[in-house]
Symmetry: C2
């Protein structure tokens, strides 16, 4: 991992980096005197496009005294396109636009290869970040793509708590894997997200094996998560990472 | 309305009263210098049995600077028994104990007469409380029986926000009435409450006409609402009643 830029702004140090050939961003509190907990910020791909929202989420983590970090998804942003995945995404969008439920086969073809590629990259990021003197732990995973968060929560013992955004399609195999998850979970669902499969999100929440799991469902559509819902998620991480 | 007792404890004034022949309890902050908002505390009946939990909820309201009040339900506690209602309750409990879903007919026979009797009593309570110089408004309704909360939220314009506990059976007619509700709602559901009908609770949440409605689902069974869920509800009322 090597840093390619550094910027100080309003108590936050923002550093861009390359983890292998995967670009990413790390935010740390400028004032921390001890190693801090870490929140991994998931997103749907396209760091540049997602930057304003990621920065807002990172600032909230830093306000809690945590570091926050993210990396570009496989096939996202400036990374090499993945044609099979683009093909599956186009088919899924066609189905949603036609008001149809995408088939399990298309959902699998879109999401499973992405999870298979992304999860080892997040784990490599974790290896590198936890060697930095500024970062201690515990570690949380926050956001989407929810299938990536589920796989990480199920198999990566360094993830202590997860705040997941149930806003994307979930393969049945990932719902099965959710039964293995036992860490505290905070799941956000936009109830009136017309492009999401609400029942699948409820099935996923039901499947989680965790004894502490909370579902927060709100109105406002896919991108209209109310501000108070973000504050609730911050309180969840403060409860579990501090 | 006339008060029958008064007790000061740790910044809270607790007064028992009779509203007509309906017994109730009012909690107010000892230190308030202006008329305060009011939270009506719903419950499943049996003021004496529910007292410890009601007191804890009232203390949370007073900590937010609000008054809190409750009355005994028709047929509850020391009030005259309602034999038809007892009969329906026994039938419903038999069905639940046998692992069956109670019929819509039994749910209607248990809940609708209770709602029809209780709602005017809560409205009379509101008339009386809002005449007290210590109580200003706005007014929230908090808790169960959820069907009473729905009817009040739909038809009583003085209720500005409701935090509802989706832990009891809901007649279809009440789900229809939920479409008329437009105030901000915070709905609590115990996901693993084995004696509750989860799908009915989700149907009810879906039916509400409010543009701001939030569902918080947690684990812990019917009476195991996590402490943080109570705090989330308090934050909801602070946002809407202050």
């Amino acid at each position: 991992m090597h840093f390619t830029s550094e910027r100080h702004d309003d108590g936050v140090i923002e550093r861009e980096f390359l983890s292998g050939d995967v670009p990413g961003i790390l935010w740390t509190p400028a004032s921390a005197s001890e190693p801090v907990p870490l929140v991994l910020l998931g997103h749907p791909g396209g760091l540049r496009r997602m930057y304003p929202r990621l920065l807002a989420r990172a600032r909230r983590s830093v306000a809690s005294g945590f570091a926050a970090a993210t990396i570009e998804l496989p096939g996202g942003g400036d990374r090499p396109a993945l044609p099979d995945l683009e093909q599956a995404r186009a088919e899924l969008r066609r189905a949603v636009a036609a008001g149809e439920r995408p088939t399990d086969e298309v959902i699998d073809r879109l999401v499973l290869p992405l999870v298979d590629r992304a999860v080892p990259e997040w784990q490599a990021l974790l290896d590198a970040l936890l060697e930095l003197p500024a970062i201690g732990g515990p570690v949380g995973y926050s956001g989407g793509i929810i299938a990536i968060g589920v796989r990480l929560a199920a198999m990566e013992p360094r993830i202590a708590a997860a705040g997941l955004f149930a806003g994307s399609f979930v393969p049945r195999a990932i719902i099965e894997q959710a039964r293995e998850v036992t860490i505290p979970l905070h799941v956000l669902l936009q109830w009136d997200d017309v492009d999401n499969d609400r029942q699948l999100a409820l099935d996923l929440f039901d499947a989680f094996g965790s004894t502490e799991k909370t579902l927060h469902a709100n109105m406002g559509g896919h991108t209209g998560v109310p501000q108070f819902a973000g504050e609730d998620a911050a309180v969840f991480f403060e409860r579990h990472l501090r």
